[in-house]
Every structure is written in C-alpha cells, then in structure tokens.
C-alpha cells in the first residue's frame, strides 16, 4: 500500500511535469497528435500505478519520451510548413458562399447534423448566411458570415470611443497585488486614500478593482448576497 502511495506521488509529479512541458492548451484546442499523446500518457501512468511488478522506470520513461517527441515535433512543425501539414493536416472548406461542399463532407466523414450543430454553435442558423465554414485542424468549425448578416460594430456606426485597458485586481481576499497597482499607473498613496475614505484596512477588503482612470470598485469582506 505504501509503495503504491509513493509511486502514485512520483507519477503525479512526472505527469504534471509532462503536461507543463507540453504547454498550455485547452482540451478542445489540442491537435489530434497531442490528444493521442495525452491519452497515452494517462494510460501508461495507470499501468505503472496498478501493477507494482512493473518497474516505475518502465512507466516514467515512455511518458517522458512521448512528451519529448511531441514537443520536438511541435517545434519542427513550427519551422516546417510541410511537416506541419503532415502532422496536423490543413484546414478544409466545408461551405463556400452558402454552398456546401458535399464531397469534402464525405472525405471528412462529416454528417449534416455535425455541420448544422457546428453552425449553430457559431451563432448561424441558415446555411445561406455563411460565406465560409472551415474545419480547422483540431476539428472545430470556424464560420464566417456573409457581410449582410454580420452584426454591426461600433466602427460601422462611426461611434468611436477610446480603447481602455480592463480593470486590474488590486486587492484579492485581503492580499495586496503591488504589480497590478503599478500596471495601471497608480501608487500606494492612491490606495491609502481610497482605504481611508472607506475606513478599511487591506485585510478587510474582499476585492478591489481599478482601472487607469482611477475608477474603482471595492467590496469589503463579509458582504454577501442575502
């Protein structure tokens, strides 16, 4: 039992290290090869966890090797377009100017239901509204609507407003974040003034956010929705 506990801790560290080495990606954004490697890692880790007759090295070695192959392959695909196409494939156009490419759908084994679901998820309910629908290399579908159906934006209405940075969290759960304060060009003096006005200490603040224009929102600790 103790051996299993220690082995699981070691494998946990190895798997965590491997995932960090592979980089930050959401599950849905994984390329097919990355997804396969991720599943393989979990399977290999399980084998080494379940059977203590298998040396731990036989579990750790393939996990690290697979991750290293994956990272190196990613790096090569970054440098070589041909290798990238070979590893990840290339995006395929499913709808062009409101017309579905049925041959491509057969090639990709994409059903009409799959296509309609992907369009709905992109906020489109009518095929004729679509200028382009592209199946990306990770399997997701990107939809580009015809200009007549695209939602208007502020610049279309000539309603220009200056872009401002989003507010930063200055205090979170009684902890001051100095770097956030300096990131928006404010200083400790400004913070002390605000806290004096509110008659609070840093440790009494649940959350304090502020932006570059010094506009802030403060929620003291202990205030809850009744």
């Amino acid at each position: 039992m103790t051996i299993v506990l220690i082995r699981s801790f070691i494998l946990y560290l190895v798997v965590m290290f491997s995932v960090r080495l592979m980089g930050k990606r959401q599950l849905g954004e994984l390329q097919p090869a990355e997804l396969v490697v991720t599943i393989l890692i979990s399977n290999i880790a399980t084998l080494a966890l379940e059977d203590i007759e298998i040396p731990l090295l036989h579990g750790i070695l393939p996990i690290l090797a697979l991750v290293c192959y994956e990272v190196i392959a990613s790096w090569i695909s970054l440098k070589s377009v041909r290798f990238r196409r070979w590893i990840s494939g290339s995006p395929k156009i499913l709808i062009r100017d409101g017309v579905i490419d049925q041959e491509m759908m057969k090639t990709l084994r994409f059903s009409v239901d799959d296509l309609m679901a992907a369009l709905r998820m992109g906020g489109v309910f009518f095929i004729e509204e679509v200028q382009f629908a592209i199946v990306e290399t990770n399997g997701s579908v990107s939809v580009y609507q015809k200009s007549a159906y695209q939602p208007s934006e502020k610049q279309d209405l000539q309603a220009f407003q200056p872009s401002i940075d989003p507010p930063q969290t200055i205090i979170a759960d009684g902890q001051l974040r100095e770097h956030s304060l300096s990131a928006i060009g404010l200083d400790r003096q400004w913070l002390d003034t605000i806290l004096n006005q509110e008659k609070l200490n840093i440790k009494d603040v649940f959350i304090l956010t502020a932006d570059k224009s010094s506009a802030y929102q403060l929620i003291p600790k202990g205030v809850s929705v009744s």
């Binding site: 080495l21 090797a65 990272v71 190196i72």
Partner: protein, 125 residues
Amino acid sequence: MNRCKVSIYILLSLILLCIFSLIELQKQCENYLLLTEAVESAVNQNNTDQALSALDDLEANWKSYHNINGTFVNGSELDSLRETMSGLRPLIANQHPEADSEIQKMKNLILSIYEEELPEIWHIL
C-alpha cells in the same frame, strides 16, 4: 525553443539511462552465468559441498544486485529466476538428476533477462 531544448536533454538522458541499464544488466547477467556455471561444473563432478558453496555465492550476488535489476526488468521475470534458484538447493543437496536440467533452465532465464532487453528488431516488434 526552451521546451524543445529541455525535451532534447531529457531524451538524451533517457538514452543514456537505457545504455547504462543495458551495460549494467549485461555485467550482472554475465556474473550470474559465471556463478551458475561454477555450480554446474561442481554438480557434474558430483561435488555437492562445492556446488552448494557456489550456489551460496550466486544467491549472495543475486541479493546484492536484485534491487538494481528490478529497476530495469519486469518483476515477474526476476521472480521466475528466483524461484528456480531457490528450488535448486534441495536438488543439489540430494544429488537429484533433475538438478542439471534446473541449472540449464536457470542459465536460459538469466540469458533471456539480458537478451530480451537488447534493442533488436524482433524484440521491438
């Protein structure tokens, strides 16, 4: 690029580890084979005391390096060798005719431990 460098270093370390494990296994298996042959020649000469003494040496050597071997080789392979080794003592002590065949079996097991780790095409497949 940093991740790629780290990956290359890890891969190189893994390759070095594999080479080290092969060298270590070869050294140990050759040592076990020599000691097994010493037991075999004593058994062939019907010298029970010398055979048991050689078997003691083999067992002592096995105990010393068992943990290192267990790091590289699947436990079940080592278990079958250990079982054969422990069954050999009463056979030698009683000068049983099966002792010789058990010694041969043990030699084959020792050889297989090393040979199955060799990166040959049939082992890979």
